[in-house]
Symmetry: C2
Subunit: 155 residues, 2 copies
Amino acid sequence: MKDTQKIIEEVNKIFVAYLEKKELRKTPERFAILEEIYTRGGHFNAENLYIDMTNKNYRVSRATVYNTLELLVECDLVTKHQFGQNLAQYEKSYGYKQHDHLICTTCHKVIEFCDPRVQNIQSMISELLKFNILHHSLVFYGECQRDNCENKVTA
Amino acid sequence: MKDTQKIIEEVNKIFVAYLEKKELRKTPERFAILEEIYTRGGHFNAENLYIDMTNKNYRVSRATVYNTLELLVECDLVTKHQFGQNLAQYEKSYGYKQHDHLICTTCHKVIEFCDPRVQNIQSMISELLKFNILHHSLVFYGECQRDNCENKVTA
DNA sequence: CTCGGTGCAAAGCTTTTGCATCCGC
DNA sequence: GCGGATGCAAAAGCTTTGCACCGAG
């Protein structure tokens, strides 16, 4: 896996290119948010991100966090998920292989997996239904086997 | 396709059995909501359902609608979806073959499709990752080819 | 200097909750 | 009659919006 600093440089370039193409301003807040996202790991939500940035004494507003997340989703640097709750979850996507998710309905743990057949289905459906599919979301819900998962201790 | 009245009788029986098993009360509101869901077609949200019932002069509260939807999801008579917005969408599930969804990101039209390979992936992942998968959600997002879809008229 | 972006707080929307009342059992 | 269910309204939680100010181009 590439060094984090190198990845941040790469995503910065992509973001700059996107902002220029759309004639949007390159504000320090936008880059700070991008950097924070690529420094942390795993899934997060807008509030997490906002809190963590303020804890690091980087002052941003929630409005800017939401606005920037939207831009990052548009240029494919961040993926947005709606895992069944009314709370959007985000995850960095550059440099990551395509994957889908498995969620424990008891302990809410999120596991990632890859299966190339999903792409095959996508291509076939796309052609069959004359639909230009841009992305997908596949989530399996069930019970995991973690020792500390509630579904093991309760009957 | 079976006659609506017959289906309603069947789902009523299933709901009664569920309520009895869980020792919950068979209130008229619960059955009225179930009937309304199985009388209408397509996808809907809690507010739709609430408004439509009050328009028909059937008085229910939002609290009861939400509560009953949860029960119906638990006994598999209704499926709950989170199609990317912060608004839960529901759909009746009894008598319907398993299917997944294709959503137009421009006009928000929802199309259903079936592909048996999704079940194969589910079984394999379930075994491979030792995860007791109970259900899944597969959604493809893209642009449809409807004549009146915005993505056809705008460049 | 201009006008898009930010920060802040208020508003919006969906969903949940508290509590008095009601009614299935 | 008891205790769960309902109705109503208020509250909660995430996200969006309005507006004054700021700063990138």
